[in-house]
Symmetry: C2
Subunit: 472 residues, 2 copies
């Protein structure tokens, strides 16, 4: 290669030297603050002239990649472009990246409509129970108001959770349950516990968009398994197991986000059988459990928490403002996860756990959820009908939950529609944010509880008309 | 090498094959669930007989490292020993590992005394203000009780923080401040943002023990810089900069944990000058700011938040039960940190931020902290006097704060004393948990606010006497 380089024109040789330095920085064999080889040494190593190296170094310095220190040589600049989600994978437009929907919905002012967001309006939540819980705590023990939580978190809440998941056939004592800061933090801890950069993780395609953002932060390889109306496509799942030897599969069982589909017992069984001889761990995110109107199978129940880790939170049903999630898993894993939680966040909020425990065991909660399920069912019908009039059709009519996963008219791009609607103060959830394979550009996810306003359908209609005109 | 292997005895050849498989697993080129090369192929590759490979595979299977699948071959077993803090570094006894103190103190029942813990008794905290804040929230807006926080967190609290740090000379607008779940999560996010496994991080020696646990979870190389009564030893700091090109330095400025020392302006200036040409980023953890009785220099003030990231939380002064911390940093870093926070925890608690904002701006807070500082000063004197009687002497008398870093009588091992006291229901903080170089085996950290009970000194006296007898 040295000889070839010598034979090349001066400009190309300069670029070759620049390329070598850049590669070293990218591969982190050259890190910020490190001194580069001297001009002379570099020239000798690369078999080029000293003037070639001088020119290459000066161009890199002009770009800010390196800098000269008088009398001392050249140094790699920084502060090293720090890790950011944007640089962890191919840069995609913020319009369709996994965080687009979150940022738009979370930053929205009161006037913005959010049919694309993943939570109920505050007025649909058990506000009365939460106010009662707050008043109770205001009179409560000072240790509750002031002290750190225990490593696993409030025993009373873990006992309630143990009983609640037992109702779905999952056997886990309170000591096998650890409270976390949120459902997302639960998955994040599990990823930190199990994954190495470069490992492969399976997700449903489509799946909750934040799984993509989270897994990107872990720098793992993500493989999507097509989701059918009854669970993941088991043929594709089996093939992915063989082809990629994945470490982890993250899924929802009861009510799938974004499709609203429900895992069938036969697919649950087949899935676990396929995983049988592998070393796959499965995270089952059961965050929508309380919206369920008929019992669906849980992977954790079939598997007995051997390879399945069951997680959940209270953000969708009690409060997203009071942060708390949980992990139910094998006792030895819970022990290590507790160490990891202490090391990286020093435990969850004791006050949050006490509040949620009070609100969850409040006499009004069960009735409230009954009313909410009925209200959601009605909103589901109404929203589906309004969307049909615009040529937007549900992929399936969910049994329960808040989401409708809908197909736009042929050839209409959801990201384009979402951008147009945002200009009119309507935040939508374009399909590709949920799709690892980027094959859902013709889909939108609707939150039926956030889709009451006529303005949403007016804006959507105009955006679709515009896109259809553009298409034709 | 093949020839050499052939020439070796059968037993050695079996071990060589076993070693190859083990190395593959350790290096993760063989991961759980993967099929090993067939016996025949392996024999050919390694130039050994088929029976050698069969024997090697069977021994590994007996050990559970691999397993046979009839008719299909051998597979790497698992579930892969997952990442745990214990396996991330040399296994140290739980008695002196960085999480020992946390676990003991957080799991302690009401009867246990905790002079080793890092927080004030609940009764010393601003309980009245917190009760008032809870009652206020119980009557408040339903969005506050129910909705997710915005990506950066409650604007009103960020404004208050901006003004508060400005009083210490740190210029950061509310948009340069992001709320986090805790001070620990603030540092964790920064580590995820800046560090790669294998990077080097500088810490003070001694430093807050959880920095060790946190950095272990990030699998970085940790280098300790000896701490002097006026800040880090700048000669050692400069040498470490040159020798290790560290990415990050984590420290406290105002009141150092565990020593109670205060950074002097001259050392602060020298430190930043040393870092000048490097690409070091500095995290300044200012969690004890409100205990300060005289203003100390902040690195973030000298540096103008160029390479310094300033963090803090409310756990020590308002409540450890209501979780919230913050990061003040360069605007571009805050933007990336917000994405990372959303991806890995979906934001902090809105209710927690509202509660802390109310408690912090409560008219009673300033007076409460004044009283707390006076109370701590008195407890400091009293505790030091009681310890002196046992031959336990402070390394320095801190100007403020809750910690006394004390030397035990010559030759007495703090870990041994801590184990004995634990048997008597007293949780101590042995020095080596704070020391990267493990050179603090003769030290204990005392929390003077948790050291009122005579029982502590009685137990400590007996433990020291026992250790002295053992020594002599």
């Amino acid at each position: 290669m040295d000889d070839t380089l010598k034979a090349r024109p001066h400009g190309t040789r300069i670029e070759a030297v620049m390329g070598t330095i850049r590669s070293g920085i990218a591969a982190r064999s050259l890190s910020p603050g490190m001194r580069l080889a001297s001009v002379r040494a570099q020239a000798k190593t690369m078999q080029v002239s000293v003037s070639t190296v001088v020119e290459a170094y000066e161009r890199l310095a002009a770009e800010g990649v390196i800098h000269a220190r008088p009398g001392s040589g050249y140094y790699v600049s920084g502060p090293a472009a720090p890790l950011s989600l944007a640089t962890l994978g191919p840069r995609v437009e913020r319009e369709v990246d996994p965080l687009w929907i979150s940022r738009q919905a979370l930053e929205a002012d009161d006037a913005t409509l959010k049919p694309g967001c993943g939570w109920l309006p505050a007025s649909w939540m058990p506000v009365t129970g939460m106010r009662r819980a707050l008043r109770g705590l205001a009179r409560g023990d000072e240790a509750v108001l002031m002290d750190y939580a225990s490593p696993l978190g409030l025993p009373a809440l873990r006992s309630v959770l143990s009983r609640r998941i037992a109702a779905n056939g999952i056997q886990a004592g309170p000591d096998q349950i650890m409270l976390t800061e949120s459902g997302t933090q639960a998955i994040d801890l599990i990823c930190r516990f199990l994954l190495e950069p470069g490992d492969t993780v399976l997700v449903d395609d489509p799946c909750y968009f934040n799984f993509h953002a989270l897994l990107k932060a872990h720098r793992v390889k993500v493989v999507g398994v097509p989701y059918t109306p009854h669970g993941p496509d088991t043929e594709a799942f089996g093939a992915a197991l063989l082809a990629h030897a994945p470490r982890l599969y993250i899924t929802n069982s009861a009510i799938h986000n974004p499709t609203g589909a429900v895992l069938s017992p036969v697919i649950a069984h087949r899935l676990l059988k396929l995983a049988d001889r592998s070393e796959l761990v499965i995270v089952e995110d059961d965050i929508f459990a309380d919206f369920e109107t008929a019992p669906a199978p849980r992977l954790a129940a079939f598997d007995g928490l051997a390879r399945v880790i069951h997680i959940g939170s209270f953000s969708k049903t009690l409060s997203a403002s009071v942060r708390c999630g949980y992990i139910a898993a094998r006792p030895d894993w819970i022990e290590s996860l507790a160490d990891l939680k202490l090391a990286t966040s020093f435990g969850g909020g004791r006050l949050a756990a006490e509040l949620l425990h009070a609100a969850l065991t409040d006499g009004g909660y069960r009735k409230h959820m009954e009313a909410t399920r009925a209200r959601l069912a009605a909103a589901m019908e109404r929203t589906a009908a309004r969307l049909e009039r615009l040529g937007v059709t549900p992929w399936l009519m969910p049994q329960a939950g808040m989401f409708l996963w809908c197909r736009l008219p042929e050839g209409v791009d959801a990201a384009l529609v979402a951008r147009r609607c945002l200009d009119e103060g309507v935040v939508l959830a374009p399909g590709n944010a949920f799709s690892q394979s980027q094959t859902a550009s013709g889909f939108l996810r609707f939150n039926v509880a956030q889709s009451a306003e006529e303005k949403i359908f007016a804006a959507l209609g105009r955006a679709i008309d515009g896109a259809v005109r553009q298409r034709d």
